[in-house]
């Protein structure tokens, strides 16, 4: 088992190097002036001042030199102060966020995590359940209905789905508003009396004993959570269904039936536990893919997370912010995939012996 984990970990440095090189390749396509935001908060407009900054931070040095400085930090020759350096956790300055990119990520991340975690539970639970139901009723009416449901679900763009539910449940019925909190609630949350333990509204509100704010936060979360979940239901349903169908054909299932176990026990105890092995990977990958899903969902619902920040900065061509968020996103993606792989190795012994 350890050897398997070590083997997986050995890929990480290569990936990290490749990812940073690819990101820097895009940075190197910018002009030295545009690159200045990596190290300087307010890039001046005056030509003389710009030239000074370009010289100071070596923004027209050879690309490998600049790459190195971008990785470890760039020393100000006069003050000796080190600026930038992604290894030091500095991704440069964000025009859109009006602070450092890392600060914006810290500020916006809890909102995205809150949405993704809330979406993950119904997404995986219901997706797998529908898949099992579909397989058990193979080629019967219910299976056909679910098949159509999954193909149609797969074909609806996230933004069309999001706008459609907003049209019905917000514009028409007024039940579930967009954004993250109502005005009165965000005033309470931002006041000093309200302790921000986790930055996650649904948890903080309960810890502060403010049930009204909890309800408000949930009301704002319901539509984006459904939007994030529905697309993945379709996918998980199909993977679970085909894995379940494979399992149900195994001899040990026939044996279990033959020795007189109830239908329910055979399906939910004997079959599902083995059928879920490949589903674990897919569910993990789906969770990680929420990273992409949140960009559109947060934009549609005007939800102040990482995804909507990325979209805002991309439209205003604030490339330093965009690249920072993308770098951060790919770190999460790589680590997430690693966790999924290791989990898979633990669940299925065949994999790690490979």
């Amino acid at each position: 088992m350890l050897a398997y984990i070590i083997r997986r970990l050995m890929i990480l440095p290569i990936l990290a190097l490749g990812v940073t090189m690819l990101i820097f390749l895009m940075i190197s396509m910018l002009t030295p002036y545009e690159r200045a935001a990596l190290y300087v908060q307010d890039v001046p407009k005056r030509q003389g001042a710009i030239d000074g900054i370009i010289k100071k931070y070596g923004l027209d040095d050879p690309i490998p030199v600049q790459y190195w400085k971008w990785m470890v930090g760039n020393e100000d020759p006069e003050t000796g102060e080190i600026k930038g350096g992604i290894l030091r956790g500095d991704l440069g300055w964000s025009k859109t966020g009006k602070s450092s990119v890392v600060e914006v990520i810290q500020r916006r991340m809890p909102a995205t995590v809150e949405m993704a975690v809330w979406a993950a539970i119904p997404m995986i639970g219901i997706g797998i359940w529908l898949g099992v139901v579909s397989a058990v009723n193979h080629n019967k009416f219910l299976d056909q209905i679910l098949r159509v449901f999954s193909i149609v679900g797969w074909s609806i763009p996230v933004f069309v789905f999001g706008l459609a539910v907003l049209m019905i449940f917000y514009a028409r019925l007024g039940w579930f508003p967009p954004e993250r909190l109502s005005d009165w609630a965000s005033q309470v949350v931002q006041s000093t009396a309200f302790m921000r333990y986790t930055q996650i509204n649904t948890i903080d509100s309960l810890l502060n004993g403010r049930f009204d704010i909890f309800v408000d936060a949930v009301r704002h979360l319901i539509l984006p959570v459904i939007t994030l979940a529905y697309l993945n239901w379709a996918y998980l349903l199909r993977v679970t269904r085909s894995s379940m169908l494979d399992t149900l054909r195994q001899d040990y299932i026939t044996t279990a039936r033959a020795k007189g176990l109830s239908h329910h026990t055979v399906i939910w105890t004997h079959a599902v536990s083995n059928a879920l092995i490949p589903v674990v990977t897919v569910a993990g990958v789906t969770l990680v893919s929420l990273l992409s899903g949140v960009v559109i969902t947060e934009t549609v619902f005007n939800y102040p997370g990482m995804g909507s920040f990325l979209a805002e900065s991309a439209v205003t061509l604030d490339v330093i912010s965009v690249l920072g968020v993308t770098l951060f996103g790919s770190v999460i993606l790589v680590l997430g995939n690693l966790v999924v792989d290791v989990l898979y190795g633990i669940i299925d012994p065949r994999i790690r012996l490979d």
């Binding site: 990936l15 990812v19 690819l22 933004f159 706008l163 514009a171 559109i296 991309a314 439209v315 993308t326």
Partner: protein, 327 residues
Amino acid sequence: MKVLKKLLTNPTSLAGILLLIAFAGVALFAPQIAPVPERSRDPQMIPRDGFSTTPKPPSEEHPFGTTEGQYDIFYGVVWGTRTAFRVGVVITLITTLVGLAVGAIAAYYGGWVDELLMRITEIFQAFPYLLAAITLSSVLQTIYGRGEAAGLMFLAKLLAFLTFGHDLREPVDPIQLSVLTGMIAIIAFGWMTYARVIRGNILAIRDQEYAMAAETIGASGPHILFKHLMPNAVFPVLVIASMDIGSYVLSFASLSFLGLGAQVGYADWGQMISFARNWIPSLATYWYIVAYPGITIVLFVLAWNLVGDALRDILDPRLRRGKGAGI
């Protein structure tokens, strides 16, 4: 032929095929269905009827209503079909070709070439797809804004030739350039799955008896690759990739929706729906700015998925065996 017969007898895939034929008809006869106004610079630009910021409901003159800025929704939906087909087909074609080349070279040469190409593939896969596409298209737009980067302009021209039949000697129209930027971003981060699948298929087939037999009787390397390995390993991938057109149209529409694909006023469904972002509290009144382009894009993608789903069943023998087992 057997595959085609199966597709035509299966009710869901038949529905998909009929839908696709209908869409192709709309794309082909767009000038007859929604005539281009006389002073139009580019038929893909939606004509405007005034400049009022409030959308207008469907009327005799504008069957699907108008968006803010008075862009005619019916015209956009009809001509958007052309954009969807062009964008989907060209992106699929190029991503598959790139994947095919990378995967086949890796599998054929093996050793360090394989190792290197597969690591590069993994690096591209280490980016969240949509985030990477957004990033690249914002970087490219910055570069285009400067009017330099000859290499990229050449790439854009080549793509313009494939997509719009653009004359290679002429500079690319800025209207088309914004579409091409989104396409390049999707292509750059879309080829990896094909490379891996094709490589895997070739490796699996290479060890089969008929490939070894060909080698034994002295067939040359390229002969085995093109005559024996490619058809069996690649053909199914090509067929399935062609059904990914729908999902590429979705990706492109997402970029347009965010404001990173087609420019404002271009006949593109994602771009048209993005107007709705300004009208969310009053969508109950202005439902038509989402409903018409929204339903169209869902039907278009659904059509591809219906055919693709049936095709996967037919081409995957493992699934086919499963059909008979019955639970």
